[in-house]
Structures are given as structure tokens and as C-alpha cells.
């Protein structure tokens, strides 16, 4: 399903001009050409349009995800967190984390790992004296998350709002923070996080190379980069069925469920514009990551890329 000669497709290396810092700076009115779905726009236009897309879809984001993927997106996200296999004490940065799906799964996972840890400890305690058990209780304080924390960072206020409401509704509060920020310029110090995830977000970033560089910067040495994103289906028959479904059904679902055809038209077009698995792997390596690898899910409809900062 690779598109033909579409302008502005490989925006990563060929983009001249000043870096896109906060929308100011000496940028020409025209600016470098980029793609917004199948349209050609300037860098600034692309950022604005994408911001508007997510502003519009925020409230129906979860419903639409379930409808479009028939609930399968939940499995993809579960697989991502299982692959991450966090242990209590892990510090996670979830970028473009909007409505909190990865963050909540992370918390659930760490909680269950922590519970098993505590259970094992208690079993071990059966040989100890009352005094020793009492002392160990004081130490642990039965910290249910074991000092793990997740920071959800998103550029879009509406998406963060929806995420916070969901967290309140579902009862997540401990170990969770919400930060407004741009993946291309993260508001965090160097070498801070154990894991960096970006699920279905990197496709919407205008300068992917900058986002990858930032990911590298904020990860601790030994830290892991994980990216879950729509990718390319190489099987020709499946690819045609996938295209048919994407272009014929998804915008209709957008119109009927969310009253918004155009945002979902953008979504399916942007998937086609995004670099395929191998190309993204090279981009991640370019940012300095080692042991970069990817895993296809559902024949390449989705792929998880992983890399380490050493």
C-alpha cells in the first residue's frame, strides 16, 4: 500500500530551515512543504491542523478507537506494556499519551507485579519472628506501586483533559502525572526516565527526527524506547482489504459516530504517509539508539519498535 510519488513524504532528512521552536523564530511564511494526510502544507499549517484534529476528536477518541479497530487496539496496547515488562520502581514517560491508555495499563501491570512481590515476601515471613515482620511492614509501607511513576505528556489540552477525567472516573491517582508538552521539545531534564513510550502518536509529530532525539535525551542510560504505531502491510491481498476498509469504512464511522469525516480521513491518509517498518528503524538508529528492532502485529497493520540508550 505504498503511495506513489507524494510530495513531502520523506520530511525527515530533507527539511531545511530553522528548527520549529514554539512557533516563533525566523521562519519564512511559506516554509518547507510537508504532508498532512494527502495534502501538501507548510510545517506550521501541519501542526495547527493536527492540533485541531485532536481537539475535535478528543471526546470521542476512545469510542472511535473501539469502533474502528473492533476493540483490537486494546490488545495492541496490552502487548506493548507486556513487552515493556515494567517492574516496581520503573519511571515511565508516555508521550502523546492523551487519554491515558498506556499509563493506566502500566499502573495495573506494576500493581500486579508488586502484589506478587509482596505475596512472596509474606510467604517468606512465615519463618520470621513477630518483631521482624513488624519491622518489615514499617519499611515497605505496602507501597502498592513500589515507587513506580508514569508521566503522561501530550501537546493537546483537550486530550489531556479527557485523560484526567478518565483517570478520576476509573480511580487512578497514585503515581500519575499529566504534563502539557511537545514531543519535539520535551519539558524534562536529560537522563530522567527508564522507559519512553509513544503509542499512536509519533505519526502526528511533524519532525519525527527531533522527537526521537528528545526521546534519547530524556532516557537514562540503559533506558528503553518503545513505539507503537500503524505501519505497512506487505501482504498484497491483505493490503488491499485493509485499504478498502480504511478508506471506505473509517471516514464513514467518523461521520456517523463523531460527526467528523475529515479528521478520520486524515487519520487513514497519515497512516499511508508514515515511514514503513525498516525506514523507521533506521531513523531510530540515527537518533543514537542501539539494538533497534520491531515486531509486527496483525501482519504489519501495527508495529512495535524498540531501542535502547546505552
Amino acid at each position: 500500500a505504498a503511495p506513489g510519488s507524494v510530495p513531502g513524504r520523506s520530511n525527515r532528512s530533507a527539511v531545511p530551515g530553522p528548527s520549529p521552536v514554539g512557533g516563533t523564530g525566523a521562519r519564512l511564511a511559506a516554509g518547507p512543504e510537508m504532508h498532512f494526510g494527502f495534502q501538501t502544507v507548510t510545517e506550521e499549517e501541519r501542526r495547527e491542523k493536527i492540533y485541531q484534529v485532536f481537539e475535535n476528536v478528543a471526546k470521542k477518541y476512545d469510542v472511535m478507537n473501539d469502533s474502528m479497530t473492533l476493540g483490537i487496539h486494546r490488545v495492541w496496547k496490552d502487548i506493548l506494556v507486556h513487552k515493556m515488562n515494567p517492574c516496581p520502581g520503573t519511571l515511565l514517560l508516555d508521550v502523546a499519551g492523551g487519554t491515558g491508555d498506556i499509563a493506566f495499563r502500566f499502573i495495573n501491570y506494576v500493581r500486579s507485579v508488586r502484589q506478587r512481590q509482596l505475596q512472596r515476601k509474606l510467604k517468606h515471613h512465615q519463618n520470621l519472628s513477630w518483631q521482624e515482620i513488624f519491622e518489615s511492614y514499617q519499611k515497605d509501607e505496602f507501597n502498592s506501586l513500589g515507587d513506580s511513576q508514569v508521566v503522561v505528556c501530550d501537546i493537546n489540552r483537550e486530550m489531556l483533559k479527557v485523560g484526567k477525567q478518565k483517570a478520576e472516573h476509573l480511580g487512578y491517582s497514585e503515581g500519575l502525572s499529566w504534563v502539557l508538552g511537545n514531543a519535539e521539545e520535551l519539558p524534562f531534564d536529560d537522563d530522567k526516565f527508564d522507559v519512553y513510550t509513544i503509542a499512536f502518536g509519533i505519526r502526528n509529530v511533524t519532525r519525527i527526527d527531533l522527537a526521537l532525539q528528545e526521546a534519547y535525551r530524556v532516557l537514562k542510560p540503559g533506558g528503553r524506547f518503545l513505539c507503537l504505531e500503524f505501519s505497512h502491510v506487505s501482504n498484497p491481498l491483505l493490503s488491499r482489504l485493509y485499504d478498502l476498509y480504511s478508506f471506505q469504512v473509517i471516514p464513514v464511522l467518523g461521520e456517523v459516530i463523531a460527526g467528523d469525516w475529515r479528521s478520520y480521513q486524515y487519520l487513514v491518509e497519515s497512516i499511508r504517509q508514515f515511514p514503513p517498518q525498516e525506514e523507521l528503524k533506521v531513523m531510530i538508529e540515527d537518533a543514537g539508539f542501539f539494538k533497534v528492532d520491531y515486531e509486527n502485529l496483525n501482519f504489519g497493520i501495527v508495529a512495535i519498535h524498540s531501542g535502547f540508550k546505552l
Binding site: Q248, V249, V252, L253, E255, G259
Partner: protein, 232 residues
């Protein structure tokens, strides 16, 4: 994958498969959530492929309708001189129209612009139909409650043949009480159908040039029978 052949601002070109899916989806959603007026609009656009050209031809073959197609008047708060209409004598179209808007707290500006009609002239026809809907209420003397809307839908279904009107007329009554259903079935619907069949095409009236005309006179001219004496 469609090319971007926009025929008018807001136009979204769609394949036959997409139109079919939209028609089905919007019908279900409109029934499920009656507040989704946009779904009713989408249903009208995706199912109107036979009725709309029909309406357009009726307009083309009528002197007043033909002028409307040429001049493309729009009914918006910005184009209406509300002060002047309010000052018109009681019983005149303009005065009664403004009264209707105030009593029911509606505005002509809430009509959806067409998106899925693949012909620029037909897009205007459906837009005109939508903007003239409040005038239908005024001519028929029906308020904007559920019962009133259903009556107007029956009238419009007979007049326009739009499947969306037919569906609305058929399914609208589902949420009415038995007492209202009785009034509907025995008095209002027969009258609406008779008037709809008897009346000339309501889209062939240049309403903007007839504000001073008394409503009763316009009813007679069109062939709409006086409304039955029931409280709606």
C-alpha cells in the same frame, strides 16, 4: 481513495459504497440518538439521488422556481431584516414567521450545509429545502414539538418524495403517546397528506418576496387546506 474534486465549499466526494454505508449508519444513529440532527441531514443527502433531481426539475419548469435556482437566495439571520418583518401586519407571512421563530426559540442559521451531494445545483436544492422548513411550519401552523415535526414531515414526504422525510414520517411517531398518536392518525396526517398532494411544489415559492402576503392567502394560492382545529 477519492481525488479531491470539491464541487462546492464543504463538499466531501464519496464513493457509492461510502454513500450506502453512510445512509445505513446515519439512519441507525438518527433513530438511536434523535438529537443528532446532523445524521438526519446526512441521511437526506445520501438517499436523495432520485428525489433531488426531481425537485430541481420541478423548480426549473416553474417561472418562480426557475428564478430561485438562478438567484440562489439564502434564508439567514444576516440576510433577513427582522425588524422590518416584525413590523408587518398580523397574519402576514413575515410577521407570522418571526413569531414562529420566537415562540419556538429557533433560528434559521442552524441548518447544516450539504456535504455528500455530488452536484452543485442539487446541493443548493437540498439547502433550500432545509432553509424553507421553518416556513413550512409557519404555513402549516405546526410548532416544533415532536408532534408538529412529524406532521410537517408527512407533508414534506408527500411534497418532495425525499426518503429521509418518508423515514422521518414513518418512524417519528414511535416516541409519541397514544393520545397524540390518535390525533395524529385521525386528523393531522390525513390533512397533511391531502394538503401535500393538493398543493403545488412549495420550493417554487420565492418566500423572500412575499413577506407582506397574508399566510391564509398564500395557503390558498398553494393549495394547502386550513389546519384542523386541534391543539398540537
Amino acid at each position: 481513495m477519492e481525488g479531491w474534486h470539491q464541487l462546492y465549499p464543504g463538499h466531501i466526494p464519496t464513493s457509492p459504497l461510502q454513500k450506502a454505508l453512510l445512509a445505513a449508519g446515519s439512519a441507525v444513529m438518527a433513530l438511536y440518538d434523535p438529537y443528532r440532527h446532523d445524521m438526519v441531514a446526512v441521511l437526506g443527502e445520501t438517499t436523495g439521488c432520485l428525489a433531488l433531481p426531481n425537485l430541481r426539475d420541478k423548480m426549473k419548469n416553474h417561472p418562480e422556481g426557475h428564478r430561485i435556482l438562478q438567484e440562489r437566495p439564502r434564508i439567514h439571520l444576516s440576510t433577513l431584516d427582522m425588524a422590518r418583518l416584525q413590523g408587518l401586519p398580523e397574519g402576514s407571512l413575515g410577521r407570522e414567521y418571526v413569531r414562529f421563530l420566537e415562540d419556538n426559540k429557533v433560528s434559521p442559521d442552524t441548518r447544516m450545509p450539504p456535504k455528500f451531494v455530488d452536484d452543485e445545483e442539487l446541493a443548493y436544492v437540498i439547502q433550500r429545502y432545509r432553509e424553507v422548513h421553518d416556513l413550512m411550519h409557519t404555513l402549516l401552523g405546526m410548532p416544533t414539538n415532536m408532534l408538529g415535526e412529524v406532521v410537517v414531515k408527512w407533508f414534506e414526504a408527500v411534497q418532495t418524495g425525499l426518503p429521509m422525510c418518508v423515514l422521518g414520517a414513518a418512524f417519528g411517531p414511535v416516541r409519541l403517546s397514544t393520545r397524540k398518536l390518535q390525533v395524529l392518525a385521525t386528523e393531522l396526517v390525513p390533512w397533511a397528506i391531502r394538503s401535500g398532494l393538493n398543493a403545488s411544489c412549495v420550493l417554487n415559492v420565492y418566500y423572500e418576496q412575499r413577506w407582506e402576503q397574508p399566510v391564509e392567502s398564500l395557503r390558498e394560492e398553494l393549495g394547502i387546506f386550513p389546519p384542523p382545529a386541534v391543539r398540537v
